[in-house]
Symmetry: C2
Subunit: 286 residues, 2 copies
């Protein structure tokens, strides 16, 4: 994964590119007139295997991961493009579409175009666009902001249903954009994604493990804390919220999703858990 | 290829989608405020093999095929997203970027974001956006319009350099958008792509083989006409031009690219070549 970020950086620097915080590096790119766009791919053998994932699961998850990127920037979804790579003899595009349809309908997404190509394995590469009035970037966190998590952590790593059918927090991202200074979605694990936000904002953070939102089922596992801190694919939202907006945010936050204050941002750089330094990728080795 | 279009149609109909002529089915999707977007993928083993294609060739071609879609709709390129699928151990993203850089610079394209994932083979899936003042759709051709080809036909099928380094006709598409009723780019072969335009516009066409723009080198090949009619990947532009705009178009057309009047659109449906009916996919079997 570390190499992934290096490769992206090398590639981007070799081309005319948008400048941060508006371009490569955030969850979605912020373009003129509030247009936000993001692209994300699911590849067979890398992100899923069949038949452990049904085609409907794959369709759902492809749209959900991209919707989560729009949620993290506080954008309202508008249109999308779908590029499919289909292995020889694959004809079941309707099953993929059936997995996408509920999310597309729920969030008012209009399919505007796409591409179909042959491919050695099934792949689904989507581009989603949204409109943001007050886009939430990774770079806006300030010392003394409270660190909130919207949603639950660790379920996707512990539980296969959550992994196959993640719920993007789109309405929650829109609500957060009215109050928060910054946001990121948790795709690679809480510690790693919080670190991305700290790097972009130039601040540090302190987390309390007792405050992390974990389901009762997760808490029963011996490695619950590790899964909550480093398990990926939860698509929870991490928010930097100024203390003055704390009550207003909690009042209007949708009730179906837990909202937890799990720490705060600090002038002192680095990431601390219960007072001890932690490395984003090194938790399991502590 | 026939199945490709069937699959796209099945997929699109199963989801909330934009209505033609503004959505799936055209070279690029036309969104509010003149925003045009397109997505196209190059996959190793399907669209290219290494080392026959260098990484620079692959980068160039990925951007060129998407730019050709923007050219066909008469849009001026603005920003793009790049989704890379990289095989294990692949680190040479700079070589890909080096093949993309000249086109990105020439056409003012800003990289706004992207995605990198592992993949069994190298794949490059791009989303390009442009702005169009007078977008050219496939559906605008009318009987009596002249059928023009911008660029040359058959070179990509005959000649490996043209296949690896296609030239997108971006300025030409912008010029055409001031005069033409409709356009399409020739990616699958002249007959097949003209047929797409006829289907979308509800008209027929007559072509004269003697007028087709073929290079001197191509004409020396025994199957020159077949290559010009059915060879793909030329990224020439087919235009429907009202007779009253003929002179104006020819006057301002850029000199570096040939512009040939090769036939006309007709009320009578179907596609005819030198007075005989031809099928888009059946030329070689006539």
């Amino acid at each position: 994964v570390g190499r992934e970020f290096e490769l992206i950086d090398e590639f981007v620097r070799a081309l005319p590119h948008a400048q941060p915080p508006r371009g490569p590096g955030d969850d979605a790119a912020l373009l003129p007139r509030g247009l936000c766009v993001t692209t994300d791919a699911l590849v067979e053998g890398v992100h899923f295997t069949r038949p452990f994932f049904s085609l409907e699961d794959i369709g759902h998850k492809a749209l959900a991961t991209n919707l989560s990127d729009l949620a993290a920037i506080g954008a309202s979804p508008t249109w999308w493009l779908c590029a499919l790579g289909l292995p020889k003899g694959f004809l079941a595009v309707r099953a993929l579409a059936a997995g996408m349809r509920p999310l597309a309908r729920r969030y008012g997404l209009t399919l505007a175009g796409g591409n179909v190509t042959a491919s050695p394995v099934l792949s689904v590469t989507l581009t989603l666009a949204g409109q943001a009035r007050r886009p939430l970037l990774r770079s806006g966190a300030r010392p003394k902001d409270l660190l909130y998590v919207g949603g639950r952590l660790g379920d996707a790593a512990a539980n296969f249903v959550a992994q196959r059918r993640p719920t993007p927090l789109v309405e929650e991202g829109l609500v957060a954009s009215r109050f928060a200074h910054a946001a990121i979605d948790v795709s690679d694990g809480l510690l790693q994604d919080v670190q991305h936000l700290l790097d972009a904002s130039g601040v540090g953070a302190e987390l309390q493990s007792s405050a992390l939102p974990m389901s009762a089922a997760l808490r029963r596992l011996p490695n619950a804390l590790e899964l909550a801190l480093s398990g990926g694919e939860d698509y929870a939202l991490v928010l930097a919220v100024p203390p003055s907006k704390r009550r207003a945010l909690e009042r209007v936050w949708p009730r179906r999703v837990p909202l937890s204050c799990v720490g705060r941002f600090t002038t002192r750089r680095g990431l601390r858990l219960d007072g001890r330094s932690v490395s984003p990728r090194g938790f399991q080795h502590l």
